[in-house]
Symmetry: C2
Subunit: 466 residues, 2 copies
């Protein structure tokens, strides 16, 4: 089956692309930062905007209030015998800080070098929106959508998905599906699309450290006081050795060694370390000794200080001995590490290493278990064929170093047999960083791939129950 079989889809996408991207820009203008308590209006607008666009496709849906941010659920019911697709995404975005490093305003989408730059362009509004527009093209070309489809789109992905986790556990029947879709991950590189067969988990926590009742003058008390910034820096420094090994006792206990087959597969993935390093502004990639870069960034657990601060951080100088210091820390986890157990390791580590007189409050923020999917699934084969049509090149099978909190819960709770994790973003798209972007060409290639995939699924499974 050559490209010609899908020419009508591709022509429609070419004709519609400018409008599709303009619509996406409307979505990107909404500053739906879930981490900010003041985001209430933006979160509501972001959810409503998305629901409006799937209603335009004939979906029925609603916005579900939660204790956190609302969840969008929208359904298209074709027939009892059609395959049931569950498409997951999120309408919330990361904080925009540091604002001064953005070349254009994070919530005013701007086009440069073939990409649209905005917070959320890649993570996840841009990737999510390819599904909506693929369905629009598919319906226009074929006249109908012979599939049962549920969109499940949350507003807490960047802060732990607490409300959605609860919703899933309480609505298993409603969400029961045959195939699960998510595009919140990456291609291998700008020329090589990828199907993701695993995600790392995460354990995220905060440390508040205090050594004295209040800050002190470094002249009058330097020599007898306990500097909280110094104590914290020593604790943070002690978490990892010079080989990049995490030295927190118990951290690696539950790590399942990579199988021979997977190790071989990962060794075959083309990965231009020098090019990646150059793009990141580093002379070379760094990390845990004894593993390749691909393994380190996707199949090994990691530990990062996401933020730290203490003492005087303003303009000028203040010769103070800080009484308090703070850190935000997270670990990425691999099978069979569990976030709660990892958090316990860090609690014990801080308790054991805190100097006498210092107090630390270590608080669990959120966590998610790591996930690996079944690479023998026939739907993964269909997806690979569709991506080859859409991108003109076959995808590779990779593990993502990132975490989608919800995927492990969906896998465990809903027991959906097929999980298609299709990344449309390039690694250099700067999710979570200033100048986040999504390439228009990738939007087009992803939308093409999805049209072909919907076509294949409808033709393979249509008219019969799975």
């Amino acid at each position: 089956m050559g490209v010609s079989a899908y020419t009508d889809y591709f022509k429609d996408i070419d004709r519609s692309l400018d409008r599709y991207i303009q619509e996406l820009c409307d979505f990107l203008r909404i500053p739906a930062v879930s981490a900010y308590s003041g985001s209430e209006k933006a979160m509501a607008r972001s959810a409503e905007w998305f629901l409006g666009r799937v209603r335009d496709l004939g979906f029925t849906g609603y916005i579900l209030p939660t204790e956190g941010w609302p969840i969008v659920v929208a359904r298209h019911k074709y027939s009892v015998s059609a395959p049931n697709l569950l498409i997951y995404g999120h309408y919330d975005v990361q904080p925009e800080a540091p604002l001064e490093e953005w070349l254009s305003s994070p919530f005013e989408p701007t086009f440069r070098d073939g990409a649209v730059f905005a917070r959320g362009a890649n993570d996840d509004k841009g990737q999510l929106y390819t599904y909506v527009k693929a369905l629009e093209t598919y319906r226009r070309v074929t006249g109908s959508i012979p599939l049962n489809i549920t969109f499940l789109v949350e507003g807490e992905e960047e802060i732990g998905s607490k409300s959605l986790l609860r919703f899933i556990r309480e609505n298993k029947d409603l969400l029961h599906s045959d195939i699960f879709f998510v595009s919140d991950s990456s291609m291998l590189s700008k020329d090589i699309p990828a199907i993701t067969c695993g995600f790392r988990g995460i354990a995220s926590f905060e440390v508040d450290l205090q050594t004295m009742a209040h800050d002190l003058h470094s002249g009058l008390f330097g020599g007898v006081a306990m500097n909280a910034a110094e104590v914290l820096s020593k604790l943070l420094a002690k978490m990892k050795d010079s080989d990049g090994k995490i030295t927190v006792p118990g951290f690696y206990d539950d790590v399942r060694p990579l199988g021979e087959c997977e190790r071989t597969l990962m060794a075959q993935i083309p990965y231009d370390e020098a090019a990646v390093a150059e793009d990141l502004g580093m002379p070379s990639l760094v990390g845990e000794r004894g593993y390749t870069a691909i393994v380190r960034k996707s199949a090994r657990p990691t530990l990062d200080i996401n933020g730290m601060w203490g003492g005087f951080t303003g303009e000028g100088s203040k010769t103070v001995i800080p009484a308090k210091a703070f850190a935000k820390i997270s670990a990425r986890l691999v099978p069979d590490q569990r976030p709660e157990a990892i958090f316990k390791c860090f609690e014990d580590f801080f308790a054991a290493n805190l100097p006498f007189g210092a107090r630390a409050d270590i608080r669990y923020q959120f966590g998610a278990a790591p996930v690996v999917t079944d690479t023998d699934d026939p739907n993964i084969r269909l997806a690979a064929e569709a991506i080859k049509e859409g991108f003109g090149v076959s995808p590779v099978f990779i593990r993502s170093g990132g975490t989608i909190h919800i995927i492990s819960e969906i896998k465990d709770s809903l027991k959906i047999p097929s999980m298609l994790i299709l990344g449309w973003g390039r690694p250099e798209n700067r999710s979570h960083s200033p100048n986040e972007r999504f390439y228009v060409e990738d939007f087009k290639r992803a939308t093409r791939s999805l049209c072909v995939l919907f076509d294949k699924i409808a033709k393979t499974f249509g008219g019969r129950s799975l």
Copy 2:
């Protein structure tokens, strides 16, 4: 000579104290934070206010513009044969941050427990103002001030005294004096006044560290990226060992060992470590192994992280790998350490320990050499007698752990034979910290002491050239 000899001064001070303190409150309301570039109006008001109060005493004076903040110079000329006194102080204050820890607004003086709480109450507006009011009482009681007096009051003490250093070097004749006075230091404890015979120096610098072109997503890049917060915490941790020794090569090279006599004197100073620790909210005092607390906080060099920050420090979480991290660091110095040489030690330390691929910009902020004064000076004996009258108890001779940048310059440039460093602040007055305070009782005792001291100096040296 009993207390009765000075009864008239003391009665006048008792009658005037409420007004003196209310005037001080007006001074304290002016938010003259020299570290903020936006403080222009407040700095001008603070200088003008002070000049106004010494003009009220019959002084003539002016406000000298500089490249930084203005300098107040005010003079009272009695006769060519009267002793020449130079009184130094500063009208600028430290930043008020962290604002949320203040029990009352830092620039709205508030009375609690017999103290006035405000930024600058102790450092240095409150201590400086005792001189102005002692002169007012002295003049009212005796009818004149038979001394030549120069007030030299700057606005850059908290940021390095750059303009005043230059002014002193360029105006040695103008400032030539017999006795130098400064009260910008501490009593030993609330019951034990002190004459300070030494100050530590300081070397203050900032480190900007960068490891990558921009922040990265900790999922997608965790395992191959270089975390700037991690690199910085390791560098900071490496500056001091578990015995509290500074491990930066060369740091201790120029430290002159304490003499036997001074060591004995310091061992005799009463210092209630347990009470100090309790006030600071610590189970016990900490610091460099092998030295007493008194020696550690006044006669040994120290190193403190005054501030550090990197990555996401806002509300919620952001799973980012920081590309940049920052620290503000300062060392307190003792004879014969020099700030420039110490800075060089840290430059070399960072250069030697920075991992390949990381860049650090280390910038010298300011420095001052340490100072020790001559304890055999007869004017120090007069000051000790006066303080015994004013406080009812003899002062002890101490070294201060703090730094007054200008004192080493005054000692070196002006060659003033007598230096009287008379601390009126209690150690618990929280200079540089939230809830800074100055006790009304101490204002009274200090003003008494100064009246007695001016009386003694006039009687001892009056009518003849020194």
